[in-house]
C-alpha cells in the first residue's frame, strides 16, 4: 500500500459538484482506470480517500489536494496519467507524489489563496482605502448559523490578506488569503462583511470564486 498525494483542478464545467459527490467521481474514475484503491478495515469498509477542506459549491480551483491510498505498486506519474484519461471533463490531477502512510493531509493544510470576482451595483470610489480601513479593525464579525442558533463570530484572525487586483467598470477582482482550519470562514463570508462595511455596493448575486492554491506546510 502507498499513499499518493494529488493536487487537482476543477474548472467552470464542474464547479457545482459538491464535496460529497466528488468522492464518488474519484471512486468511479479509479474503477475505470483499473487502479486498486485500499479499503479501511472494519465492519463498514470504505475506500481510503481523503480530501482537503471543502470548497464552496460553485467555486473553481487550481490547487486542491486529496490523498488516495492505493493497493498496488504504481508510480505517481503513471497514476496521474491513468486517472486523467478517465476523469470527467473539467477535473484534472496536475501533480502527484508519494507521502508517508502516516502523513495526514488534514494536519498539513495551513491556508488558501483565492481570486474573487464580484459585480458592483454602482461605481465605488477609493475602494483601496476602504479596504485598508476595513482590514485595520481587530474584529470583523459575521453571523454564523450553528446548532445552538445564530451567533456572531470574529473572522479577522483568519484573514491574512485582502486586496483589489483588478478594477473594471462593473466588477472587481480581489485577492484573498485565508487561514484554514477549525472555524475558518470562506471568502464569501469575508466579502459579505466587506459589503456590509462599505454600504452594500456589491451585487452579491454575481460573483466568481476561484481557489488559486492551497498552502501546505
Amino acid at each position: 500500500m502507498k499513499r499518493l498525494r494529488n493536487k487537482y483542478t476543477k474548472d467552470e464545467r464542474v464547479k457545482f459538484i459538491s464535496h460529497l459527490d466528488l468522492l464518488r467521481v474519484f471512486q468511479r474514475a479509479l474503477r475505470r482506470a483499473n487502479i486498486k484503491v485500499a479499503f479501511s478495515k472494519g465492519f463498514n469498509p470504505h475506500p481510503k480517500i481523503s480530501f482537503g477542506p471543502a470548497l464552496v459549491v460553485g467555486a473553481t480551483t487550481e490547487g486542491d489536494y486529496m490523498d488516495i491510498d492505493v493497493e498496488e505498486d504504481i508510480s505517481p506519474e503513471e497514476f496521474r496519467k491513468k486517472m486523467n484519461k478517465v476523469l470527467p471533463p473539467g477535473i484534472e490531477i496536475v501533480e502527484s507524489y508519494e507521502v508517508e502512510l502516516n502523513d495526514a493531509l488534514s494536519t498539513k493544510i495551513k491556508g488558501a489563496e483565492y481570486i474573487l470576482q464580484v459585480n458592483v451595483k454602482k461605481s465605488i470610489k477609493d475602494i483601496q482605502n476602504k479596504i485598508e480601513e476595513f482590514m485595520k479593525r481587530d474584529i470583523i464579525e459575521i453571523e454564523k448559523e450553528s446548532k445552538s442558533g445564530r451567533k456572531m463570530v470574529n473572522i479577522r484572525p483568519y484573514v491574512l490578506e485582502l486586496k483589489v487586483i483588478y478594477e473594471a467598470e462593473n466588477y472587481f477582482k480581489f485577492y484573498i488569503k485565508l487561514k484554514l482550519g477549525e472555524g475558518a470562514p470562506n471568502p464569501l463570508h469575508l466579502l459579505k462583511a466587506l459589503n456590509d462595511y462599505i454600504g452594500d455596493l456589491f451585487d452579491m448575486d454575481f460573483y466568481k470564486l476561484h481557489r488559486k492554491n492551497t498552502i501546505l506546510e
Partner: protein, 617 residues
C-alpha cells in the same frame, strides 16, 4: 458577466442540487450545435434524478447522438426552487448540454412515463416560452411525445404536435430523415405534419376528431384528413437481439434514483397479469443473447466505473439463462467490487438462489409482489403464484439469513372484497410465523407491506372496469393500518387522490385534456409528488371545464364502448383482451405464454414479429 450562462450560474449558486442543471457529466455528448442539421431536446417531465434513472432516455440519447447530423440534448423539469428563480429572472427553460433555450431546437421530444407528469409537460413548454397549444405554434420547434402513456394520446392531443407509438429506436431515425429533407426544401410547418402522418407509428392528433354520443361516451374517432391511417400501428423492434444498446452511459454527479448501470436483457413479458399495462404493450418478448449481454456489461463497466449493474426487464428472473448469466457476471466482476442487481424477484426457489449469488458482492433486499391477498383474487388478476410459493420462498430466504422482506400488494382490484384485503393481513402474519419457525423468535425481523391502488389502464383486460371510489380505498387502507400494527410490520400506502387522478387521465379523452390544462393554469405541477399534489385545484379544474372525473375513473364500460385509444393498435388484439376479461370474472387463469401461445395476436401483428414462443420452435 451577464450572458445567459452567467445568469444561470448566478441562480445555481442559490438552488438545491445545482448539478441537476449543469450537464457535463461523464459520457454526456459534447458537440458543436452549428455543425448539426437537427437539434433534438429530449424532455423528461420530472426532475433530473428521476428522469436520468429512466432507461428509454438513455437509449434514445445515445442512439440519436451516434448520428453526426443530430445533436440530442437533455432537459428536465426544474425543481420548484429553480423554477421560481427562473421565472423571477426571465430565464427560459434551457438544455443541459449547451444551455440553449428550447425555442432554438427543431424537436422537443417528451417521454410520457406516468400520467401525473402531464402538468409538468405543459409547465415546461410554458417555461420555455413555447405556446402550450399545438395550434398556436408557428415555425419551430415540433413538440412530440412517446412512451407508454402515449398509447392513449387523447388527453394531450391539444398540446402535442405528433405522437410516436411504440419503440422509439425503431422509428426516430425515419422522422429525423424526413425532417432533414423537409427543412432542406424549406417546407411549411403543416407540410411536415402531413409527411410524418404517413410514417408508420406516427399519430398526428389534429388529423382526427372525437365524435361523442349523447351520454358522453365516444361514438367514433374520425380521421378528418385524407390519407391518414384509420388506426395507427405501434412500431416494434424486430431484431431486438442485435438492436442498439448503448455501450456507455451518462454518469451523473449527483445521486439519482437508480444510480447504476442499466442493461436491458429482454423486452416484453409473457406472464399476462391482467392489471399490467407494460405486460401487454411491450409484447412480444424478445431476449438478448447471453454473450451479447456479457459483452455489453463489460463495455458499460469500463466506460462508467459504476459499482453496480442492474439487469433490467419487466420480469428479470424469467430470462431464459438467468442463473448462468448472474453467476458469470458475479464471478467476473466481484474482485472489482461490482455488484449485480435484479429489479424484481419472482417468488420461487430459483430466485432465492439468485439472490444468494448476488449477495456475495453486495447486500440485497428481498422484494416480493404477491399483488393480492387471496388465491381467488390472484387468479382473477392472473398472478400465477400460490400461497405455498410465497411461504416457501420466504422460508428459504429466512434460512439463508434474510431478515427484511418487502411485500407489494394492490388494493381496489376488480371483484375485491374485504376478505381479500384481510388476506393481506393473514399472509403477512403467516410470514411472521414462518420466520419464528426458522429462527425461533421474531428478533431482527422486519416486513414492509406496501399497497398501491389499482388503476385500470388502456390495453389491458381490465380496461373496462371501474376503479374503487376514494371512500372505499380509504376504508381498505384504514383496515390495513389497524390490522398491520406490530413491531415487526410496517405498512405503507399510496395517496388515493393520486391514484384517482391517474385513473381519470389514463383512460381520459380529449375533454379530460382541457381539465389538465385548466389544472396547470391553477398552479398544478409535480402532481406525482405527494407533497405537491393539490387535489382541490384539480377538483375546481374539472368543475370549470365541465368534466366529471368519476365518469372516467369509476364507471364500468360496456364491451361495445369505443375508447379514446382505439385509434391506436398496440398489437394485442381486443378480442384477446375481452377473453381475458371474461376469464377474470370467472376466476380462471391463463398460463404464461412461454409454455404455449395463448393467442394475444401480436405474433400476427406485423411482418417479422417473432415471439419467444415461435423462436423456440
Amino acid at each position: 458577466m451577464n450572458n445567459l450562462k452567467d445568469k444561470i450560474d448566478a441562480l445555481l449558486m442559490k438552488v438545491s442540487k445545482p448539478t441537476r442543471y449543469t450537464g457535463g457529466e461523464l459520457n454526456s455528448s459534447i458537440k458543436n450545435p452549428e455543425e448539426v442539421k437537427v437539434r433534438f431536446a429530449f424532455a423528461f417531465p420530472d426532475v433530473y434524478e428521476v428522469g436520468m434513472s429512466h432507461l428509454g432516455l438513455r437509449i434514445l440519447y445515445h442512439l440519436l447522438n451516434k448520428r453526426e447530423d443530430v445533436y440530442c440534448e437533455r432537459v428536465f423539469a426544474p425543481w420548484l426552487d429553480m423554477e421560481k428563480l427562473m421565472r423571477e429572472n426571465d430565464i427560459p427553460l434551457f438544455s443541459l448540454e449547451t444551455k440553449t433555450t428550447l425555442d432554438k431546437f427543431d424537436f422537443i421530444g417528451f417521454t410520457l412515463q406516468y400520467e401525473l407528469s402531464y402538468t409538468n409537460v405543459i409547465n415546461m413548454l410554458n417555461l420555455a416560452g413555447i405556446p402550450i397549444l399545438s395550434r398556436d405554434r408557428k415555425g419551430l420547434p415540433f413538440v412530440i411525445a412517446g412512451g407508454p402513456c402515449a398509447y392513449n394520446p387523447a388527453p394531450l392531443s391539444d398540446v402535442i404536435d405528433f405522437f410516436v407509438m411504440g419503440e422509439g429506436e425503431e422509428v426516430i431515425n425515419e422522422i429525423i430523415d424526413a425532417y432533414i429533407d423537409w427543412k432542406k426544401r424549406g417546407g411549411e410547418r403543416e407540410e411536415f405534419l402531413q409527411i410524418v402522418s404517413q410514417i408508420k407509428g406516427v399519430y398526428v392528433p389534429k388529423y382526427y376528431m372525437e365524435v361523442y354520443n349523447q351520454d358522453g361516451t365516444i361514438k367514433e374517432i374520425r380521421p378528418i384528413k385524407k390519407g391518414v391511417p384509420e388506426k395507427v400501428k405501434k412500431r416494434i423492434v424486430k431484431d431486438f437481439g442485435n438492436a442498439y444498446h448503448p455501450e456507455e452511459q451518462i454518469v451523473p454527479f449527483m445521486d439519482i434514483v437508480h444510480d447504476r448501470i442499466m442493461l436491458e436483457i429482454f423486452r416484453g413479458c409473457t406472464r399476462g397479469c391482467r392489471f399490467c399495462q407494460a405486460g401487454m404493450i411491450y409484447r412480444p418478448v424478445r431476449e438478448k443473447s447471453k454473450e451479447k449481454i456479457l459483452d455489453l456489461a463489460d463495455k458499460l463497466i469500463k466506460s462508467t466505473g459504476y459499482e453496480e449493474i442492474s439487469l433490467t426487464s419487466l420480469s428479470t428472473c424469467d430470462y431464459s439463462q438467468i442463473e448462468d448469466l448472474v453467476k458469470k457476471l458475479i464471478d467476473k466482476y466481484k474482485d472489482k467490487g461490482v455488484g449485480v442487481s435484479i429489479p424484481s424477484t419472482r417468488v420461487d426457489a430459483v430466485s432465492i438462489n439468485l439472490l444468494k449469488e448476488i449477495q456475495k458482492v453486495r447486500k440485497t433486499g428481498l422484494t416480493l409482489a404477491p399483488e393480492a391477498g387471496t388465491q381467488r383474487l390472484r387468479d382473477v388478476i392472473n398472478k400465477g403464484i400460490t400461497e405455498e410459493d410465497i411461504l416457501e420462498a420466504t422460508k428459504e430466504a429466512f434460512s439463508a439469513g434474510w431478515t427484511n422482506v418487502k411485500l407489494y400488494f394492490m388494493i381496489g382490484l376488480p371483484t375485491e372484497m374485504m376478505e381479500d384485503v384481510e388476506g393481506i393481513v393473514d399472509l403477512a402474519y403467516k410470514i411472521v410465523d414462518n420466520y419464528k419457525e426458522v429462527k425461533g423468535s421474531v428478533k431482527n425481523l422486519k416486513i414492509t407491506i406496501s399497497t398501491s391502488t389499482f388503476v385500470p389502464k388502456p390495453f389491458t383486460p381490465f380496461q373496462w372496469t371501474a376503479q374503487d371510489s376514494i371512500k372505499d380505498i380509504v376504508e381498505k387502507q384504514d383496515l390495513l393500518k389497524k390490522k398491520l400494527k406490530s413491531k415487526v410490520l410496517k405498512y405503507n400506502w399510496h395517496n388515493p387522490y393520486m391514484s384517482f387522478l391517474e385513473a381519470v387521465i389514463s383512460r381520459g379523452d380529449r375533454k379530460v385534456g382541457k381539465a389538465i390544462i385548466k389544472a396547470w393554469e391553477k398552479g398544478c405541477k409535480f402532481d406525482g409528488w405527494e407533497e405537491y399534489l393539490n387535489y382541490d385545484k384539480w377538483e375546481e379544474a374539472f368543475k370549470e371545464v365541465g368534466v366529471n372525473p368519476h365518469f372516467y375513473a369509476n364507471r364500468e364500460r360496456s364491451l361495445e364502448e369505443v375508447f379514446p385509444w382505439d385509434v391506436i393498435d398496440v398489437g394485442v388484439d381486443k378480442r384477446y383482451l375481452i377473453r381475458e376479461y371474461k376469464k377474470s370474472q370467472e376466476g380462471r387463469i391463463t398460463p404464461d405464454c412461454r409454455l404455449y401461445c395463448t393467442g394475444c395476436g401480436v405474433k400476427d401483428f406485423d411482418e417479422g414479429v417473432v415471439c419467444f414462443e415461435a423462436s423456440k420452435k
